[in-house]
């Protein structure tokens, strides 16, 4: 029986009711290109090269059919420009269009990274401008924009820490990286990739780093502590200065995972908390495209004692011009080609200058306000995992619906029927039935209210008609997907119905 559609649903009927693959639209003889008659002698390709297309069945479609196919596919997309996207730990804020206007300016778009420095002073000024803004916002001594993703920035920070310990003759001794049990999975992955052994540090009942466990784990084998602040629980670590002191006391370094920087912009500075280095996601916090629209920029900030190891070249402001400093004998070397993703610097600078020094604190203030508003409005139906003010995101638990057979995933899938992207589910791992909601500062109270109304309606439905949630989504071109089957029998190649599907 088809699911009934929620009355309050913000329904958007899809243009594409029954999507077909372009192969299924193929009709023999249809052609999408009109080639002019050749004025040179014709060569029999099959005779010279063999039949390259043997066994390959291309769809035969007209240009118009191709156009309709892909435009219709684009209508099935969901993004920040179609609706609210409260995916936790992802900072899906709106990226203003003016970013695209500046990134599209010919002077930025049509230059080459090998042009002489004195011919691209404007571009170097942009990179240097972003660097100076970020130094002031984070309180760090230096910034590099070379890493092209958040995890890439994490790994680069660990490489700097490794180089630092090696230069002090402690490279062989310091083999352990400590990571809280609430961390993003990329933290242990980056540490392992850099050759470190990972030890997990528990979180205490208030949601903070367990200081007793941390002290017990600290000794002179510790290379670094990787801590996310605010944590993935959406909570500011009140003992952060103490944490940094403890790690420094045994000679370790402290890395800040900056995924949650949106909670701090213009309000407080990680460089002042005692961190030795951190990564930033320009594609989250500083409004460059995110998620399929990339490329990303995982800029990193670092203190003076790590500066000589940073990736070369370092974009440096001289007396009369900005130049690329390659004279860095202790550098870990490049971590990406040229200077990172240059056009992301153009977008980030546009964003930073549009806000200006006076406006930037409003980013974190409204991000924190919005998350606390959602947390308060949903408190009765989905209580917070920790009952204290949250930062830019709130982590709620749906565990009370488990006895009704309703899981966090079911609530999220039903949310799709109300026209919203689901929040992050089942992360952080230490919260049962976690739903992690990050509204960002760019959403209005009206949007947050519509979202909260939908969540409250779904939780009511969970008690009255749990199957409606189990069968959700009901309004999309496909229903509930079998995620296990999709992982185990990944099927990405078109085969005619008569043939067996290909699994890999």
């Amino acid at each position: 029986m088809p699911n009934r559609i929620p009355e309050s649903a913000n329904m958007r009927w899809k243009t594409v009711r029954e999507p077909r693959l372009i192969f299924e639209k193929s009709s023999p003889g249809q052609i999408g290109a009109n080639l002019p008659k050749a004025d040179t002698p014709e060569v029999d390709l099959a005779a010279t090269l063999g039949d390259l297309r043997d066994g390959v069945e291309w769809p035969e479609v007209s240009e118009l059919e191709v156009m309709r196919h892909f435009v219709n596919l684009s209508h099935i997309n969901y993004g920040i420009e179609t609706g609210f996207y409260p995916l936790g730990s992802c900072t899906m804020k709106y990226n203003p269009r003016i970013n695209e206007v500046t990134a599209g300016l010919s002077g930025f778009r049509n230059i080459h990274p090998l042009m002489p420095e004195d011919t691209v002073q404007g571009a170097l000024e942009v990179i240097c401008g972003v660097k100076e803004y970020l130094m002031e916002i984070t309180g760090f001594y230096e910034i590099t924009q070379q890493p092209v993703a958040g995890a890439h920035g994490e790994m680069t920070c660990l490489m700097l820490i490794k180089a630092f310990h090696a230069a002090n003759g402690e490279g062989d001794k310091r083999t352990v990286v400590l990571i809280p049990d609430s961390a993003h999975g990329t933290n242990p992955a980056s540490a392992a990739r850099c050759g470190y052994d990972v030890k997990s540090i528990p979180t205490d009942a208030e949601g903070n780093t367990d200081l007793v466990a941390l002290e017990a784990a600290l000794d002179d084998t510790v290379a670094a502590f990787m801590v996310t602040n605010p944590s993935t629980l959406g909570l500011f670590e009140p003992n952060i200065e103490r944490v940094c002191e403890l790690v420094h006391a045994v000679g370790g370094q402290v890395f800040c995972d900056g995924a949650n920087m949106n909670a701090m912009v213009g309000t407080t500075r990680p460089g002042d908390h005692g961190f030795d280095c951190m990564h930033l996601n320009l594609h989250k916090t500083f409004s460059t495209p995110h998620g399929g629209g990339g490329p990303g920029c995982g800029a990193i900030g670092l203190q003076e004692h790590l500066a000589k190891f940073m990736p070369a070249p370092v974009v440096t402001r001289g007396e009369f011009e900005v130049f690329l400093d390659y004279d860095r004998p202790d550098s870990i070397g490049r971590v990406s080609s040229f200077y990172g993703q240059f056009l992301m610097a153009v977008r980030a600078l546009t964003y930073l200058m549009a806000y200006g020094k006076e406006g930037l604190p409003n980013i974190s203030r409204y991000a924190v306000l919005n998350a606390n508003y959602v947390k308060a409005r949903l408190a009765d139906v989905l209580p917070a995992a920790h009952d204290r003010p949250c930062m830019h995101e709130c982590v709620l638990t749906a565990s009370k619906y488990k006895k009704l057979g309703v899981r966090a995933l079911d609530i999220s899938k039903r949310l799709i029927d109300h026209g919203f992207h689901p929040p992050t589910n089942y992360f952080p791992l230490i919260v049962p039935e976690a739903m992690m909601i990050e509204p960002t500062e760019t959403e209005s109270k009206e949007t947050l209210d519509r979202f909260c109304d939908a969540m409250i309606a779904i939780c009511k439905e969970a008690e009255e008609d749990p199957d409606a949630l189990h069968n959700a989504p009901a309004t999309q071109i496909v229903g509930r997907l079998d995620e296990a089957r999709a992982v185990k029998f990944l099927d990405v190649k078109y085969k005619k119905e008569s043939e067996e599907p290909v699994s890999v």
Binding site: L409, N425, Y426, L429, P432, E483, A484, V487, K488
Partner: protein, 126 residues
């Protein structure tokens, strides 16, 4: 939640069945329910020595990847090859068809430190 009385349990949600000096190990009904549909189980080779609390494998579900911790020290005698193709056995039959490894215990006394079914059930209610 199904917690068979004749098995021993760990805080990290493994179950252990002791027969002589051989321990059969899997994950509990509660663990499979929390993980969701299991899509991949990574198990050690037979013959590998494992220490107490050492990570001996991983379980990947649609939600997350979890480590498996050795509740006892010893040598891996046999692993459940069926899980390579039928990982859903961990969900559908966690205490029988979904078993993971058999370990020949090097210190059977370690089994005394494991939880009883009653103690494990009580820990789930907390």
């Amino acid at each position: 939640m199904n917690v068979p009385a004749d098995l021993k349990y760990t805080k990290s949600h493994e179950w252990v069945k002791i027969e002589g000096d051989v321990a059969t190990i899997g994950i509990t009904d509660h663990a499979q329910s929390e993980l969701g549909d299991v899509v991949f189980v990574d198990l050690p080779e037979a013959g590998r020595a494992v220490a107490l609390d050492e990570t001996f494998g991983t379980v990947e579900s649609v939600k997350t990847v979890s480590d498996l911790y050795a509740p006892l020290a010893g040598e891996v005698m046999e692993v459940n090859g069926d899980l390579a193709t039928d990982s859903e056995l961990v969900n559908s039959d966690p205490y029988a068809g979904g078993w993971m490894v058999k370990i020949k215990m090097s210190d059977p006394g370690q089994a005394d430190a494991l939880m009883s079914a009653d103690a494990y059930s009580a820990s789930l209610d907390d």
